[in-house]
Symmetry: C2
Subunit: 267 residues, 2 copies
């Protein structure tokens, strides 16, 4: 079993990714695909006149401020457009994909963070009406049901709060949680760079191998969202996933290449 | 088994519908919910500057012209927003709903009508780049899988062409096809009126009962989308559904009321 996360950034080559997934599933490989939706959400938010707002936490992580209106835009972009266009591509290649969000069947569950603390102009502030959360539970029954029946699950990064509310959650952490819950051999995190770079954005400085015990050491190298990927990787490895590979989404056969060890392999 | 279709028009009371579905499922009733998305698609289309275009077929039916851009807006509004907000309401009421489109698992399949004929200014014209279709096959495996595991399927009116393309399909016909495929006792079509009206829009002229053999006679009374509902009803009844009830979506307990015979009962 492999779990693949493909970023929601601009320029992701979904066609080559889906062709690769079709080849892998034809060869008998069981896969679950988790995707993002940030780029599409930003575009839609600008179009409807509710531009995105990014905030920084006291510990230095950047994330989208998700008020209720933004949550609805995120549902449209991630669960509506990105999810269904991936399913359409896979169906066109003969792969019987089923698109879901983590809200469906409470696939992904966790507490809502209704109030978040942010740093703005050097000061700590409190924001309310936030619809984000963290994943504490993966209800694998629905995934096993689909996988055993031969479907390929395609999952949008939305979770259910314990009260059943829709929440915007981090896609990398969602993929890590699913990989742990399914006992996946491999978690592949595909993005717009070839892996972790020692001197971002110089792609010649790719870190090829990290031992699972050394992840902490590499955190200072990670720029922006790569920090969350490393954290997700670390969580997944601690909880039983065989290896995590950070690899390039922009190439042909991105998953197959990652599985042969291209990118940053953490094991 | 009952299949319920709730319209995608303005002013639908989703909260009371979901509360009613929660009570029915707690009482052991198996349900499938099909929804629309027209109102949300119109709103979104206006917001992003790609306003909706409605066309009339030579036989007098009105439908949305769905170019590729409109299809993507429809995916966002119907499969993204309407579907997930219904699932969220049901999850909040303790109903383990799973939202799908007919593209997922090729639940709904049929031919694409890439080219459509329309009447405009009294002349017949041809429109290309249309992403609509009709449903010929319902692949019930996925529905049975979910129903047997205790999930309530919530379905957006999108189908897969035989080539796997996403298609905008009529929600009433989709619900009728699903009711037939599942051998449902009852198909409930909820909308913004109390049922078929002898003198639309006078709600005191409700037709309470129609024999299945007399549906054709009532077609001339049907205004706008009600024509498609009657056609869907007729198709469903011919193919084994016990009864079809056209009923009011704007009241408390809309499904329970319909099941007691409120509305137009065709049997």
């Amino acid at each position: 079993m492999i779990v693949i996360k493909v970023g929601g950034g601009a320029g992701i080559a979904y066609d080559t990714l889906c062709a690769d997934l079709a080849a892998l599933t034809r060869a008998g490989q069981r896969c679950v695909l988790v995707h993002g939706g940030s780029h599409e959400t930003n575009t839609l938010a600008e179009q409807v006149g509710h531009p995105p707002r990014f905030v920084t936490s006291p510990s230095g992580y950047t994330s989208r401020y998700t008020d209720r209106k933004t949550l609805e835009l995120f549902l449209m972009a991630a669960a509506g457009k990105v999810n269904k266009l991936i399913v359409e591509r896979l169906q066109g290649l003969g792969v019987n994909a089923v698109g879901l969000s983590g809200l469906d069947g409470r696939l992904l569950e966790g507490p809502r963070k209704a109030v978040i603390r942010i740093i703005e102009d050097g000061k700590q502030k409190v924001l309310r009406d936030d619809w984000t959360g963290t994943i504490e539970k993966v209800n694998t029954d629905l995934l096993h049901l689909l996988l055993n029946a031969g479907f390929l699950p395609v999952i949008a990064p939305i979770a259910a709060s314990y009260a059943g509310e829709a929440l915007n959650v981090d896609g990398d952490r969602a993929a890590a949680a699913i990989a742990v819950a399914l006992g996946a051999d491999t978690l592949v995190l595909l993005t717009n760079v070839p892996g972790l770079l020692r001197a971002f954005p110089d792609e010649h400085t790719l870190v090829r191998q990290i031992s699972r015990t050394d992840v902490e050491e590499y955190l200072p190298l990670a720029q922006g969202r790569m920090k969350k990927k490393l954290l997700g990787a670390s969580e997944a490895l601690t909880q039983g996933v065989g290896r995590v590979i950070l690899s390039d989404a922009r190439v042909a056969e991105p998953v197959s290449r990652a599985l042969t060890g291209e990118g940053t392999v953490i094991a």
